[in-house]
Symmetry: C2
Subunit: 159 residues, 2 copies
DNA sequence: GTGAACCTTCCCATCATGGGAAGGTCAAGC
DNA sequence: GCTTGACCTTCCCATGATGGGAAGGTTCAC
């Protein structure tokens, strides 16, 4: 294996293979390749033997991606964030807006989740838990809030 | 189309087509077929012309499924719940246990979500939001808590 | 030089959901 | 009776994040 022409040295002064980059970034090798195929990561510099190599800069980007995924950003959002991060003249306001919008979306999810949990606990609380088969959980599931019924007039199906 | 031999009449005294069942249950026709293919729903009674038909009982089960999905149960869990529901000698305790276990799992998710939101808001709060490109959100993303690095000794890569 | 560990690409799977094509069926209106 | 439009059927493909695994090439330490 020959050293790649580009200077993309890693922390120890030499480029890393994808496996090393994976261990160092917390992003699996599979996902690193996947992000490259999505265009989230630039095409990796290859060695003569076609191995991908990663330097310090790429390592930072991979950690950036992992951290953003942990915070629940979608790949689309991460792409935007990465663009802002890479762009020297980015506006801090855009980043803040993106983060806040995301926080708001997550709060909506949070509310839903809270309602789901509350319902479940309510139902469980009214279930005596014995062997008698009349647990209200099932009754509720079977007859709970129903969808809008018959939004259009049911097509006559007399036969 | 001939009336199917089975008695699976709907609310109006006659069986429904899949589209009508979909509208009445809030589960899309696509998903009804899918649930049938998964074995979650029994194979539907067909008319002579191979149309699926649905009666009151099936309608109830479909609503049951929709409601359970809304409460975040996985199809596997729904299968278990449906089994309990269909089984006359089911134990209310099993249902309660399933519901509570699910609630606990959801609470874990809730905690995660809360942490994510808190982090996002914290970061956004420290971002002045102007045009200067030093928003701490990006800095944090780029250098936040990192994965366990080098769990195994890095294979020597001198070249 | 051999074996282990690593890399490459390619295909398949998950899970819940939906889009859409090609073709059959039904009821209503003329 | 025939047309029309809404409905049904099956089959295949797509999503999005992730992983499994096969077949084959590369590197390195012994």
């Amino acid at each position: 294996m020959q050293r790649a022409a580009h200077s993309n040295d890693g922390p120890a002064g030499r480029p890393l293979t994808i496996g090393q980059a994976a261990r160092a970034s917390g992003v699996s090798a599979k996902m690193i390749r996947h992000y490259e195929s999505l265009g989230l990561m630039p095409r990796a510099v290859r060695t003569d033997s076609n191995y991908r190599t990663y330097g310090t800069r790429e390592l930072h980007e991979l950690r950036f991606i992992r951290r953003a995924r942990e915070l629940g950003f979608s790949t689309g959002q991460i792409e935007a964030l990465l663009g802002l991060w890479r762009n020297k003249r980015r506006s801090a306001a855009s980043v803040k807006a993106l983060a806040l919008a995301h926080a708001t979306a997550l709060e909506a999810k949070l509310g839903e989740l809270e309602r789901m949990i509350e319902t479940l606990k309510h139902l469980a609380g009214h279930c005596h838990g014995g062997e008698r088969p009349d647990c209200p959980i099932l009754t509720d599931l079977a007859s709970g809030p129903r969808a809008d019924e018959q939004p259009r007039p049911p097509r006559a199906r007399r036969r």
